[in-house]
Amino acid sequence: MDHSLEHSFVDLLGKHQNIVHKVCRLYTNNQDAHNDLFQEITIQLWKAFPKFRGESKFSTWMYRVALNTAITLYRKSTRTLNTQEFDSIQYKIEAEPYDDTEEQQLKLLYDAVHQLNDIEKALVFLYLEDKNYAEISDTLGISEVNARVKMNRVKTKLKTILNP
């Protein structure tokens, strides 16, 4: 086992771990599932790390492995999912003086995003991470035009969920 490789990997992941947390946030509903997925993504990242040649940024490379794990490789935990738990424990938004209505709207939005399917969540995630359509299409393996079309559909879907 190459210790320097392990060391640099742990160091990089430690710095960029919020990317993994954010993916876990979108794809899981409770703390246990979040931790499970975090671990599986870490294992997959580590397995793929020897092939990481630094051609892209570590964070960009992470998006791909993390999403692949969440969408395809990870087997959902069989534990009962409790969305209530999700809201109350893990993901408290930092308390700043904030407009109550906007706060409420955001909560509804996060709930709505949770109702999207796995592919739609990936689109939303990359969009929120400020990735352009070229990167989105490259990560998902679809054409740029289709990524745009799908993104518009997702926006419409979110609107429908929020205003039934």
């Binding site: 392990e6 990997f9 742990v10 160091d11 430690g14 771990q17 919020n18 947390h21 954010k22 946030r25 975090f38 671990q39 599986e40 870490t42 294992i43 997959q44 580590w46 793929a48 092939k51 990481f52 490379w61 791909r64 492995v65 999403l67 692949n68 794990t69 969408i71 395809t72 490789l73 990870y74 087997r75 959902k76 893990q90 408290k92 938004i93 930092e94 906007e102 955001l106 939005l109 996060y110 709505a112 995003v113 399917n117 796995d118 592919i119 939303v124 969009y127 929120l128 400020d130 990560t139 998902l140 393996g141 679809i142 054409s143 289709n146 079309v149 799908k150 997702v154 926006k155 979110l158």
Partner: protein, 211 residues
């Protein structure tokens, strides 16, 4: 304001608080075992290979009396050994194809390519199962035929049968063979159905985008 724009503003500006995983915890995770779908499929394919190889090898592990009986039924027919060698060559080919397919699976591919590669390994295993079911079916039919023609005991018994009895016996054999094939098929449908249901759903979703 666009709903997603509001979310984006929040996503970037007020990063949600995540409990940070420590360096020690990350080190510990690196030595944990993955429970990915690919690993499960890999173990199942190994189990498949071993199961069918063992099933094909039963004559070699069984008693001398059984071997003798087999030799009598097939009369040391070279065709029998050729078929056996070919079937082992085919198993080796499947092992090679599976190995290659699994080596090609990498989490750094695009979401779509990764799914395609996993589905390809499942296809190979599916062909392997279909091949084995066909072989099992053929073996049962040929085995019965050779048994009736070459085994004096069975031959005697069949000789005493009238036409209706022969038709009924053949009918029973065919039904049993078909039931065996059908049950195995249903078992695989359920097994893979459960395992890759989510993957298939997501893959269809991605494919739908290309239309």
């Amino acid at each position: 304001m666009d709903e997603l724009e509001l979310l984006k503003k929040d996503w970037g500006k007020r990063k949600p608080q995540f409990e940070q995983v420590s360096v020690d915890e990350i080190y510990a995770m690196l030595h944990k075992k993955s429970s990915s779908i690919v690993k499960i499929l890999f173990y199942i394919s190994i189990a498949e290979l071993i199961f069918w190889i063992l099933l094909n090898s039963i004559p070699f592990f069984s008693s001398d009396a059984y071997k003798e009986q087999i030799n009598m039924v097939y009369k040391n027919d070279t065709t029998f050994y050729i078929v056996l060698s070919v079937s082992y060559a085919i198993i080796l080919l499947f092992i090679y194809l599976l190995y290659k397919a699994y080596k090609n699976i990498t989490a750094t591919d695009s979401v779509r390519v990764l799914m395609q590669r996993i589905l390809k390994t499942r296809k190979i295993i599916q062909y392997y199962v279909i091949y084995n079911l066909l072989m099992a079916f053929t073996a049962m039919v040929l085995g019965s035929y050779y048994g009736i023609v070459n085994d004096p005991v069975i031959y005697e018994q069949f000789n005493g049968f009238n036409q209706t009895q022969i038709i009924i016996s053949i009918g029973i054999m065919v039904i049993f063979t078909l039931m065996f094939v059908l049950l195995t098929w249903v078992f695989y449908r359920i097994l893979y159905g459960i395992l890759i249901r989510r993957l298939l759903k997501n893959y269809k979703e991605l494919k739908k985008l290309e239309i």
